[in-house]
């Protein structure tokens, strides 16, 4: 949920899987360095997993700046992570993420609903009752029908394109409903899987149980939209607000301004603090210029929160360390070995042992901008993750040449072998990691050629098992993050054999292990997150044993926090971004 890249990954997963991708968001980081900055800043990592400058003072203008415009501000169409975070200013959902720092943010709490839903014993029916006093920006009450209509808009993919389609896949897997714009029923509420017996009650009926259904209802795509205010494709230019702020002005790619929605009643909302009087966003095309203006204090924070560019990073860290936070993003960076190209497990182990994790981490940007060395494929914040599980000794940071050579002998190629590393040509950091891997593999005689492929063609090149085999890609360098913080989706598209697709594939290793696949089926049905976590742990162990992944880092980000910001904290639910709905400013 972070950059256009993130979106591509997610979109690829969707194309591919037509199932769910669940995410990670991370929270293992405990910011220890407590350097106090010079400018009255709260200190390095002061807002990572804890609240910096806690305050309930209202007023002022919160000033965002961004170098990337939203894909769409339409709640049903936005897919960028920052849009999901920002959307809480003007949309409400039945349930939403808790307003707490770090991992606690991934808990789902009621928002428009009075509770987190009543689930039937078979896990197929979810019933919600709406709170009293929840209203639109014109004062009219938000009804269950508005919620149903908003969700129905997802079905109109020809008009409302680009957003996540999990709800569509789960509620209507056969695609029977054609969307509200082609709906022939008089009230345009023809979707059978959602029932609205009265204005306060909404019932979801799932054909197949899904333990992550609530996560999907927490996405902005499940926000209410009122039928008489639906401007279809243009809705993103001025969404009709159900949250604490409403649109005042908006010029795409230039600026937007939100002001208080005086019809929003704080008593009905336990999540949104709504501290500033105004929220403004300025867009610029020059990311370096943006970083400099943030450092100069002209703006409060980067809307996109993709991290300070390397040009300004040193200045920020050396002169304004107190204004910098370094949270985990929930992304994992890794190399994966297609089994069609390197079928022998010992040869794959040789690559894993020979890799220099420390050098790979440096290539990713070092411990702060790059992230912590990863030793397995589950990011720390996901239930079932065990950051210490380290079957190949990668956390030591140095290559194990002895074991690598032993593995090569067992593989029958004691002098090494030739292979190809596939890497996206538009990601400089990934090319740097490829060069690092190439250097360390050379030390045990593995001669890896680097092949740069067009990063815009990912799904047709490395996403196609046939192309991978034809081109002889023994090693593919990629990154992964998913759409909401639970385990199955983070791993399933990567390692479930049923997710192997002829194009848009994400299971690059083509791992197809019956035991792994079976464990996913169990985990999917499990509604207790802790029990599901145990299953993911088992899956993760089996994935490590198969030696098809070489994880590099659990990614971290360096983000700027102005000294004006109050009530700041990073939220795992939003990939380590600040929880925008809680932010305030000193006047």
């Amino acid at each position: 949920m972070m950059s256009s890249q993130r979106r591509r990954i997610a979109a690829g997963a969707l194309l591919a899987a037509a199932t769910m991708v669940v995410t990670t968001a991370c929270g293992g980081d405990t910011g220890t360095d407590g350097d106090k900055g010079k400018t009255g800043a709260a200190g390095f990592n002061a807002a990572v997993n804890k609240v910096a400058n806690a305050s309930d003072k209202k007023g002022g203008e919160l000033k965002f700046i961004g170098s990337q415009e939203a894909d769409s501000w339409d709640p049903q169409r936005g897919y960028y992570g920052f849009v999901w975070d920002f959307a809480r200013y003007y949309t409400r959902q039945l349930v939403t993420f808790k307003a707490e720092p770090g991992a606690a943010s991934t808990e789902l709490v009621p928002d428009l609903a009075t509770d987190a839903g009543k689930v039937s014993a078979d896990g197929l029916t979810y019933t919600f009752t709406l709170k009293d006093g929840v209203t639109w920006e014109d004062g009219k009450p938000i009804t269950s029908k508005d919620i149903k209509y908003g969700i129905e808009r997802i079905w109109a993919q020809d008009v409302i394109s680009g957003g996540p389609i999990y709800l569509q896949q789960v509620l209507d897997p056969k695609g029977e409903y054609k969307g509200p714009y082609k709906d022939t029923t008089p009230d345009k509420l023809g979707l059978k899987a959602i029932e609205t017996p009265d204005d306060k009650t909404i019932i979801f009926k799932l054909p197949v149980a899904n333990g992550d259904f609530l996560q999907m209802l927490a996405m902005p795509a499940a926000s209410p939209v009122r039928q008489d205010k639906d401007t279809k494709a243009k809705y993103g230019l001025k969404p009709f607000s159900s949250g604490p702020y409403k649109w005042e002005s908006y010029t795409p790619n230039k600026s937007m301004k939100l002001v208080r929605n005086d019809k929003w009643d704080a008593k009905t909302d336990t999540i949104r603090k709504a501290l500033p009087d105004k929220i403004s966003v300025t867009f610029t095309t020059n990311a370096d210029d943006m970083d400099n203006r943030l450092i100069e204090g002209e703006y409060d924070l980067d809307l996109n929160a993709t991290g300070i560019g390397s040009a300004a990073r040193q200045k920020a860290l050396q002169q304004h360390k107190g204004n910098v936070d370094n949270p985990q993003t929930g992304f994992i960076r890794y190399a994966v070995f297609p089994q069609t190209v390197i079928p022998n497990i010992e040869c794959r182990k040789a690559i894993i042992y020979a890799a220099d994790s420390k050098s790979l981490q440096t290539a990713r940007g070092g411990p702060q901008a790059g992230g912590d060395i990863a030793s397995n494929m589950l990011p720390p914040a996901i239930k079932g993750a065990d950051p210490k599980a380290d079957p190949y000794g990668k956390l030591a940071g140095a290559p194990d040449l002895t074991k690598a050579k032993e593995a090569l002998k067992k593989c029958g190629k004691p002098d090494g072998f030739k292979t190809t590393i596939a890497v996206r040509n538009n990601k400089k950091i990934e090319i740097a990691t490829a060069e690092s891997l190439q250097q360390s593999l050379l030390k045990v005689g593995i001669d890896a050629q680097i092949d740069l492929f067009d990063g815009a063609q990912t799904s047709g090149i490395i996403g196609s098992p046939k192309v991978v085999k034809d081109k002889g890609y023994g090693i593919i360098i990629m990154g992964w993050g998913a759409d909401f913080p639970s385990g199955q989706g983070f791993l399933q598209p990567l390692v479930d054999g049923r997710f192997i697709l002829p194009s848009g594939n994400n299971n690059f290793s083509e791992l197809n292990d019956k035991a792994v696949n079976g464990l996913f089926d169990q985990a999917l049905k499990e509604t207790d997150p802790d029990k599901a976590g145990e299953l993911y742990k088992q899956i993760n162990t089996k994935v490590s044993e198969a030696a098809v992944y070489l994880p590099f880092t659990h990614e971290k980000n360096i983000i700027w926090r102005s000294s004006r910001l109050t009530n700041v904290y990073t939220a795992d639910a939003y990939n380590g971004r600040y929880d925008y709905a809680s932010l305030g400013v000193v006047k």
């Binding site: 420390k358 070092g366 490829a434």
Partner: protein, 342 residues
């Protein structure tokens, strides 16, 4: 550059043209009068002029130096540097990925400093980068000149529909989006082709592409020259003596085209160097980890504020090389074609 020579040049050049029917190379048998001109072939005259052009000579020396550097890269790097692909992460601050030492890590051990992130020796990479730049530029120029001369002379001499067809082809080629084509081409190139692998395929592709898109420039000039030469008396004389077309092309026309072709080839090399750098910059050049100047520039962008030297050095390398070739090329042009305006 040759301003003081202009008057005499004009005179000499007339003499050269007058002597042309016998083609250069054949000893001039005419004069017993003016001593300074007597007995000198057009090439000797050109060489005399070139020697007087200080800037061109300076360019020539730099070019020669670069060629030697490229040829003896392994020796130079063996003496003064480290293997170009070797990582020296101990020279890098892991937090920022920038060199620990000041000035991009310049020291007696690393003459031009180290590359950010991986600590590769910038000196070694510059030296090896010269090989790629010069190799691609030279070969592409040769490719373009051969193709352009053959097709240009054919178009100019035979005329008619052949000329019309070839001229249209040249027009099309000149209008073709070369950069986009190349970027698209390299992304579909296989890793191994015709016995080449790795960067070999890419180098061959760069040579062919840059050369292929360069020939129409040569072709047009050669065609124009041929058009004006083919009706000269000496050609008609040869025809009336029964010389075949091929003989006329080879013995009567080609020798008189050598001068403009040489000039154009010399000026084409710096353009090719720039094209190669641009393609490498855009990721369509040689494969990593092979060092190339354009690629170094592109890598330097991310760290230009923290480590400006890493951007300056490959930039300077390209700048100096291109400038030297241009000065030399201008000198050659002035020497061979003194009537040319400047």
């Amino acid at each position: 550059m040759t301003a003081p020579l202009h008057e005499t040049s004009a005179g000499e050049s007339t003499a050269t043209v007058d002597a042309a029917p016998d083609a250069p190379g054949t000893p001039d048998k005419s004069g017993t009068s003016a001593k300074a001109i007597e007995g000198r072939s057009p090439w000797k005259i050109a060489w005399t002029r070139l020697k007087r052009d200080k800037l061109a000579l300076a360019g020539a020396f730099v070019v020669l130096f670069l060629v030697l550097v490229a040829l003896f890269a392994p020796v130079i790097v063996g003496l003064l540097g480290h293997p170009p692909d070797e990582f020296h992460e101990d020279q890098i601050d892991p937090l920022f990925g920038t060199p620990i030492g000041s000035w991009g890590g310049v020291s007696s051990e690393f003459l031009f400093g180290v590359e950010p992130v991986n600590g590769r020796d910038v000196f070694s990479r510059i030296v090896y980068g010269a090989r790629i730049s010069l190799l691609v530029a030279f070969l592409a120029a040769v490719f373009a000149v051969v193709l352009g001369t053959v097709l240009g002379i054919v178009a100019g001499y035979f005329g008619g529909w052949i000329d019309a067809a070839l001229s249209r082809v040249m027009d099309v080629m000149l209008a073709f989006p070369q950069l986009l084509f190349t970027i698209a081409l390299v992304s579909v190139l296989p890793n191994e082709l015709l016995g080449l692998d790795g960067s070999g395929v890419r180098i061959a592709a760069l040579v062919v592409v840059i050369g292929f898109f360069g020939w129409p420039y040569v072709g047009r000039i050669v065609r124009g020259q041929t058009l004006s030469l083919r009706n000269r008396e000496y050609v008609e004389a040869a025809q009336s003596l029964g010389a075949g077309r091929f003989y006329i092309l080879r013995r009567e026309l080609l020798p008189n085209l050598i001068a403009p072709i040489t000039v154009y080839a010399t000026l084409m090399i710096p353009t090719n160097i720039l094209t190669e750098a641009a393609l490498s910059f855009l990721g369509a050049g040689v494969k990593p980890p092979t060092a190339s100047w354009g690629q170094m520039l592109s890598t330097a962008i991310t760290t230009y504020e923290a480590d400006p030297l890493f951007m300056v050095i490959p930039g300077l390398a390209i700048f100096i090389t291109v400038l030297a070739f241009n000065l030399f090329g201008d000198g050659v042009r002035d020497a061979l074609d003194p009537k040319g305006s400047r």
